[in-house]
């Protein structure tokens, strides 16, 4: 690594923090500098660590307003504002004292863009490092989100979007012989089997219309905190990370003769809301946490750098064999519209017993706010739609409330571009499409393109889970939601 362990971005962050001691803000509206505003800012002092995803230390705020622009601008949410304290603009919560009392969905976009370290992603590296050094863990199991495999390269001078999965597998080997690596693609395939089955059942019975995906924890948070009347529309499926996690803490111990508590399970995600999701009460298997730690892409990069591992120069490796068969459908989960596309491939198969005539639903791709596709089977049409970014979901929810929403299946991803634009990824200049590119290329070149054709998964169903939405599957792979309306 010869002295190149600091990336350009880290260097910039350090430099920028040193440079900008104070800066200014964007407060919207006319109530700027009103006594009300000033009072609210008073209580926003100090360090706020109440969120699972992000931490705020207002004393470091330089008042640049990036966080507010991301939260209210790009995300269309109403959590942060700029207030004036001691004559200086500072970031503050708009309606609450702490993040846990706010309707913050934990998307992490504010932290991703904060140049001063006033808002940061909650770091799990210390937990992971402790686990790596803890001999009581017989296995440290890693899973890597589809998009994470295509983003991490950017930190190691590899062009945006390149598939780094083979390098990642080698990197995990370097962390020691107890480490196992899997791709969340496999979890995504399970999700599609469960979700598409659930959807097809609902579709036939005319229930849950529109049926909404549940793999984005930012979106689930939004529903629970802001729009709990959408809970009946949510799929009961856990996210791919949690589904694979459930198997890692049930099927994997069974196969290896270990106990679930001897396994430490780390998920590397592009997402900060996943840090909350893993901590949800329901996300356990027989009382054992399914996912023990969530690292963002950036944190994983930091881990590799701290260990002197230069990802780009590693030889190619392979993921471990237990969950090794994956499909292109699982990989495209990392792009907005990808879940919808993968689900439609399998839903078509489940309804007709045949593969869809065209496997690629190109109208669901790209970075538009709302994208749609129609699948016609025996004169009946499934109207599918992908909502790209939480800011675009409000209108959709209004339509659902008014009964004017025409869709049967709606995918929602809270971050623009889907996971590819997640709060745990490096800042991107330009369209998230550049990251999607790699995902779709992988899909195009993979032999297995649909989740129901994932051989390993079919075997696990036959051997362990019986069938999608069976009782075993329901216990391990499904969950429930409750209103936490603020």
């Amino acid at each position: 690594m010869s002295g190149k362990t600091i990336t350009r971005r880290e260097f910039l962050r350090g430099g920028v923090c040193a440079l900008f001691g104070a800066a200014a803000v964007s407060v919207f509206g006319k109530d700027f500098l009103s006594p009300e505003t000033a009072r609210a800012s008073e209580s926003a002092s100090g360090v706020d660590t109440t969120s699972f995803s992000i931490a705020r230390d207002v004393s470091k705020c330089i008042g640049c307003g990036k966080c507010v622009e991301m939260c209210s601008g790009r995300q269309g949410l109403d959590i942060l504002k700029l207030a004036v304290r001691d004559g200086k603009p500072v970031s503050a919560l708009k309606y609450a004292e702490t993040l846990s009392e706010s309707a913050c969905i934990g998307c992490g976009q504010c932290a991703r863009h904060c140049p001063s370290g006033a808002i940061t992603v909650k770091d799990a590296l210390s937990v992971v490092n402790a686990a790596l050094n803890n001999a009581n863990y017989q296995r440290v199991v890693w899973q890597f989100a589809p998009s994470a495999q295509h983003i991490i390269g950017e930190e190691f001078r590899v062009l945006t979007g390149a598939d780094m999965s083979k390098k990642i597998a080698s990197a995990v080997r370097k962390l020691g012989p107890r480490n196992l690596a899997f791709s969340t693609d496999f979890g995504a395939d399970i999700t599609i089997m469960e979700e598409a089955t659930e959807f097809v059942n609902c579709f036939k019975r005319g229930e849950k219309k529109p049926f909404m995906t549940s793999c984005c924890p930012g979106w689930v948070n939004y529903v629970e905190l802001t729009a709990p009347d959408m809970i009946p529309h949510l799929s009961s499926c856990k996210s791919p990370m949690e589904m694979l996690g459930a198997l890692i803490k049930s099927y994997l111990p069974e196969k290896t003769g270990l106990s679930a508590s001897e396994i430490f399970h780390v998920a590397v995600m592009p997402c900060t809301a996943k840090k909350y999701e893993r901590a949800r009460e329901e996300m356990t298997v027989d009382g054992v946490r399914a996912v023990d730690a969530v690292l963002t892409v950036t944190e994983f990069k930091n881990l590799l750098m701290s260990k002197g591992i230069d990802l780009a120069s590693l030889p190619d490796g392979e993921y471990d064999s237990l969950f090794d068969g994956t499909s292109g459908a699982g990989r495209i989960f990392g792009a907005t519209g990808g879940v919808c596309e993968a689900a439609m491939r399998t839903a078509y198969y489940l309804l007709t017993g045949q593969e869809p005539p065209t496997i690629e639903f190109t109208s669901l791709r790209g970075n538009d706010g709302v994208k749609t596709a129609e699948v016609t089977i025996d004169g009946e049409t499934i109207r599918a739609c992908a909502v790209n970014g939480i800011a675009n979901v409000k209108d959709m929810i209004e339509d659902i409330r008014n009964g004017t929403c025409p869709y049967d299946f709606i995918e929602v991803m809270a971050c623009r571009g889907g996971c590819s634009g997640g709060g745990g990824t490096p800042i991107l200049f330009g369209d998230e499409g550049v990251r999607h590119r790699g995902l779709y290329q992988y899909d195009a070149s993979s032999a297995v393109k649909s989740s129901h054709n994932n051989r390993t998964l079919s075997e696990i169903y036959a051997e362990y889970l019986s069938s999608p939405c069976s009782t075993v599957a329901e216990t391990l792979l499904h969950t429930s939601y409750r209103s936490r309306k603020i």
């Binding site: 006319k30 500098l33 790009r74 603009p89 062009l159 945006t160 330009g430």
Partner: protein, 434 residues
């Protein structure tokens, strides 16, 4: 008036907005932008020297501006507009309005500090030597001392082209005065450079030429209050008259928070600059660059139209508050155009750049796309980048019309990767790169 001399360490002025939200924050930082007046914080600045002050104003268009300074330090200025407000054009007005009203006492300090963007700067100044009762020199007549001060990174590095003129003319003064001035000029510049202050002691003055000594010092002080120009080795050299035509030139504006290229087309007719066309704003820029540039551009372009500047003695408009680097950049670009006299280049296509990146003042590409092909990549270099090597590298991208399969040359690998990866990121969504 007392001589005011500013010693600067660092001021950051930052306007950071994303295009879809119409908030326009500007700020300057950091702890050490202290104003020193004759080496001390002067009492006339007491009102800004103690405690924190916030100035807020609201414009007709419901734009609120807030400026903060504390203990004599410029802290922050911010602008808040209704969401419907149309930036950046209006942003320019607001920035001007706010900075002007709130920071009048500080703006000169900020200006000089910002001028330090160009590592070496030349300031021109003048002072009059009045000496009514000098019995030794009955021929003495009052005269004007003009000189140039060269600063290097905020320090006075050289005082040159010291010359005496008859009052308010360009005619050289008489030989006696010239001799006295030459005497003073032998030692006084050295004293000023050593002290890094134009406030020379009486004992420093050259015996028999006290008035001229003092005039030099005052001319230096005067120079430092004006807008500087970038230092050019060949400045002052005579050149042939400029033929009618349109010439193009560019200059690089680079500070801790700004990083962009100014591009202008200058029209010369009968030896006079009749028009300056701006191409800078056609290049994608970050919003902070854009606002400050617009402020400068408006002021400079208005001035030019009025002034009918002589092409061979182009004099810049004075610095625009809060946008001095940009003003200096425009002036430098115009002078470059008139110096190199290169024919105006027509726009080579659509331009793309990573918006927002200049916050980090690092190397980035501005890519010209024509017929869905990369026509050209211009490197906007950072503080320490090897521009030549990067240009060669960018040439490879243009030649292959792709960023795939490139290797990053050892000495410039981080910068080269940035150029390639940013080109990829900004062009992929446009369908130019696959």
């Amino acid at each position: 008036m007392r001589r005011v001399f500013y010693i600067a360490a660092l001021v950051c002025l930052l306007v950071a907005t994303l295009s879809h939200v119409t908030a326009l924050p500007v700020s300057a930082a950091d702890g050490d932008a202290v104003i020193l007046i004759d080496g001390k914080q002067a009492s006339e600045y007491a009102e800004i020297s103690k405690g924190a002050h916030t100035v807020a104003a609201r414009s007709e268009a419901e734009i609120v501006c807030v400026a903060v300074y504390e203990n004599g330090q410029f802290k922050a200025a911010s602008f808040h507009a209704p969401l419907t407000y149309d930036f950046p054009d209006s942003g320019a007005e607001i920035a001007l309005f706010c900075l002007d009203s709130a920071f009048r006492p500080l703006r000169d300090a900020v200006r000089v500090r910002q001028g330090a963007a160009f590592a070496k700067l030349v300031y021109s100044g003048a002072a009059v030597c009045y000496d009514l009762y000098n019995e030794d020199y009955p021929d003495f007549e009052d005269y004007t001392v003009r000189l140039k001060v060269v600063t290097d990174n905020g320090k006075i590095a050289d005082i040159r082209e010291i010359a005496g003129y008859r009052l308010n003319t360009q005619t050289p003064t008489n030989d006696v005065n010239a001799g006295l001035l030459a005497d003073a000029a032998k030692t006084i510049p050295g004293v000023i450079i050593t002290k890094q202050s134009a406030n020379i002691a009486e004992a420093d003055a050259v015996t028999g030429a006290t008035c001229s000594s003092d005039a030099i010092a005052r001319a230096v002080a005067d120079a430092l209050t004006h807008t500087p120009e970038p230092y050019e080795e060949s400045s002052g050299e005579a050149s042939a008259p400029i033929a009618d035509g349109v010439y193009s030139g560019s200059a690089h504006c680079l500070t801790g928070y700004l990083n962009y290229m100014v591009d202008v087309d200058v029209t010369v007719k009968d030896g006079v600059v009749t028009e300056i066309q701006d191409r800078t704003l056609k290049t994608p820029m970050s919003s902070n660059d854009k606002v400050l540039y617009s402020v400068a551009w408006r002021s400079v372009s208005k001035g030019i139209a009025k002034a009918k500047m002589k092409a061979d003695a182009f004099q810049s408009a004075d610095g625009v508050t809060g946008a001095t680097v940009s003003t200096a950049g425009i002036n430098a670009a115009v002078r470059n155009a008139l110096k190199t006299r290169s024919a105006a280049t027509k726009e080579s296509g659509d331009l793309y750049a990573p918006e927002g990146i200049s916050l980090y003042a690092r190397v980035y590409p501005v890519v010209a796309v024509k017929n869905n092909r990369i026509a050209n990549i211009r490197i906007v270099p950072g503080k320490e980048s090897d521009t030549e090597a990067l240009e060669a590298f960018a040439g490879e991208i243009v030649a292959s019309q792709s960023v795939a399969g490139l290797t990053w040359p050892d000495a410039i690998q981080d910068d080269a990767f940035s150029i390639a990866n940013l080109t990829d990121q900004i062009l992929y969504g446009k369908g130019v790169l696959k």
